[in-house]
């Protein structure tokens, strides 16, 4: 029971990190970045190539961060910036196109076969051989990473002036600009931070599952995107909670359902999602208040 719970919190933490990354960009750009999973995938390939060429672990991790952050910034410059005024549907489909592009490049370059990466293999060991057999060190590391990242982010948003600018931009972008917030700076910072988070998630996921293929992290990203909307994408903390909650829910469901039923875990999760959306369309964790009119 305790093990189930720890593992669930572990997955929830990873999903929360991804949710923050997606939520940060959504806050300033009103853009759901579907290509987020492919950023993580690209980072994973960087690690795989590093371990293939026998690089030291720190170099692989550095390469992963470099690749992911570089790609994030490139995406912002070539795609998000020109499309800033476009409709949400266009922006979303544009990120589909990028996701598709990155995935195809991976397929073209590395083939559809899995590539295995070895990085921090010690972290995959169980915490102890007695009571906590199914809990691995990486789970603890993931939880710690999430806590540290969220604390740092909260401090930054609360205590620094650029954090204030970001919060202002997230709540009302036009007004914030009029009041002198530098839009490009705020957006670049949000994209940068979301890239850092993606790279972190990439490292954690590679330790957990060292078999990398072009669809690496795709399923996770989709589930997190769903979780973010279910939690309430309008605010960073509700989005994060949404990501965390869907991670915990899917992990607990996978653990608790009998093996015959566990193939239907996606149906259960998605069914829950529909139910929550019908009851609380503005987000599960959004504060209660009446919305004036619906906005399409």
């Amino acid at each position: 029971m305790v093990q189930t719970l720890i593992n669930a919190v572990g997955l929830g933490s990873i999903y929360a990190l991804m949710a923050v990354g997606i939520g940060l960009v959504f806050g300033v750009l009103r853009l759901v970045n579907f290509a987020y999973g492919q950023l993580i995938m690209a980072g994973a390939y960087a690690i795989a190539l590093g371990s293939e060429h026998g690089w030291p672990e720190w170099a692989s991790v550095l390469a992963c961060f470099g690749v992911v952050i570089g790609l994030s910034l490139a995406m912002e410059l070539t795609l998000f910036r020109p499309l800033r005024q476009a409709s949400p549907a266009t922006m979303l489909v544009a990120t589909f196109a990028v996701a598709f592009l990155l995935q195809s490049i991976a397929l073209l370059k590395f083939g559809s076969l899995v590539k295995s990466a070895t990085i921090f293999p010690k972290l995959f060991d169980p915490v102890s051989h007695g009571r906590f057999e199914t809990v691995r060190w990486i789970t603890i590391v993931a939880i710690a990473c999430a806590v540290v990242a969220l604390l740092a982010l909260t401090l930054m948003l609360d205590r620094t002036s650029i954090g204030l600018h970001m919060r202002a931009a997230a709540s009302d972008f036009q007004t914030a600009r009029i009041l002198g917030v530098n839009a490009n700076r705020v957006i670049t910072l949000a994209v940068l931070l979301s890239g850092v988070l993606a790279a972190t998630v990439s490292v954690i996921l590679v330790v957990q599952n060292p078999f990398i293929e072009p669809r690496f992290a795709l399923r996770d990203t989709i589930i997190v995107l769903v979780g973010v909307v279910v939690g309430g994408i309008d605010r960073l903390w509700t989005a994060t909670l949404g990501g965390f909650a869907i991670g915990v829910a899917s992990s607990v469901l996978t653990d608790q359902l009998s093996s015959q039923r566990s193939v239907y875990v996606d149906s259960f999760v998605f069914g829950l999602v529909i139910l929550v959306l019908l009851l609380r369309p503005e987000g599960l964790f959004a504060p209660f208040r009446t919305r004036p009119v619906e906005r399409a």
Partner: protein, 349 residues
């Protein structure tokens, strides 16, 4: 609205479809499949457009109606002896009956429509991102159940030996039917009410339009068109797995719609024909083609990369799609036209 104005919304997309089919008759047997695929893509994207274009609500769930139509039509056209051997788990009703080509297409349309109606009944209360994600959840559930529940389908294995009845003519006919339905709908009272809710939900509600009811109508109808297109799809391929009607097709068809211009029928058809054609061209280019005397020889898998890059590029250049989300219009004499994209003909009004 003048008759000519009404017709001009139908004729260009229909002509485009006929042109694709006409070109297809010149193609070799090996290449004909690309033209059929393009026509089936048109049918799916037009089904998607019927809801997304008119309501302004993004749906990621329409491929589940395609899937239901495809598996329904496919399963019921396979001969019953074969089904008993290959799929022993099927419900007796599904195992012991099999139907012909046209009834299976009608069945596909019916299944798609009924499924869309049931799903839409609760979901059409949502809008914006919540609606998008909820429809996506429907796709996830549909895929998950089709993949695992072997009493209603082949499960994780491929369903094979489906009669390949979607020839060039039937694909063209199917695409034309889809376009016709979408055209009649968008001219109808319901279509106009729904577009009113797209432009301004508050104002539409204020004059007594029920957003929920209008969206539900469109969702059901577009579900039926998508189911029908799924029937065409399965009879074109002759074999199908659940992966064929899941994420990739969802993204591809949405991209076709948005690249073409989500708010017009012409945009849906142009996007489908263009991207489908480009995909086919690039796929054949991987085997080496000659253009203007140069031999273009590219590595396998390149076509996906080029396709992704081009889609992103088109969206950056024209964020509201190639057609700008407008139908072609006839030039108006004597009054300023507001909604005129590119009037081509100089005919009399």
């Amino acid at each position: 609205m003048r008759v000519a104005d009404k017709l001009v919304q139908f004729v260009p997309p229909a002509l485009l479809v006929v042109a694709v089919a006409f070109l297809g008759t010149f193609a070799s047997r090996a290449n004909e499949i690309y033209f059929r695929t393009a026509l089936v893509d048109v049918a799916i994207v037009v089904g998607l457009y019927l809801f997304v274009g008119n309501s302004g609500v993004l749906s990621f769930g329409h491929i589940s109606f395609v899937a239901v139509g495809a598996f329904g039509a496919g399963l019921m056209s396979v001969s019953s002896e074969l089904k008993e051997n290959v799929l022993p788990d099927l419900f007796p009703l599904l195992a012991h009956h099999s139907i012909g080509n046209v009834p299976s297409l009608l069945l596909a349309a019916g299944l798609g429509g009924a499924f869309a109606f049931l799903v839409g009944l609760p979901l059409m209360r949502l809008s914006g991102l919540a609606a998008g994600i909820a429809t996506f959840a429907v796709l996830g559930i549909t895929h998950n159940v089709l993949f695992n529940y072997t009493k209603i389908g082949p499960g994780a294995t491929a369903l094979t030996s489906i009669p390949e009845t979607t020839g060039l003519m039937q694909a063209m006919g199917g695409a034309l039917i889809a376009i016709g339905v979408a055209w009649l709908y968008q001219l109808s009272r319901f279509g106009r009410l729904l577009r009113a809710t797209r432009e301004d939900p508050a104002a539409a509600q204020a004059v007594g339009v029920s957003i929920h009811r209008q969206r539900l109508w469109a969702f059901t109808l577009s579900g039926a068109v998508c189911g029908f297109a799924g029937g065409l799809f399965v009879h074109e391929l002759g074999t199908i797995t659940t992966e064929d009607v899941y994420l990739d097709l969802t993204f591809l068809t949405l991209a076709m719609l948005v690249v073409g211009g989500a708010e017009s029928l012409l945009g849906a058809v142009v996007g489908a024909v263009l991207i489908s054609g480009l995909d086919s061209f690039l796929t054949t280019a991987e085997d080496g083609v000659h253009i203007l005397g140069f031999k273009l020889d590219v590595k396998d898998g390149t076509h996906l990369v080029v396709l992704g890059a081009l889609m992103a590029f088109v969206l950056v250049l024209r964020p509201s799609g190639i057609t700008g989300g407008r139908e072609l219009g006839l030039p108006r004499i004597g009054r300023r036209s507001v909604q005129q994209a590119g009037a081509t003909s100089r005919g009399t009004p």
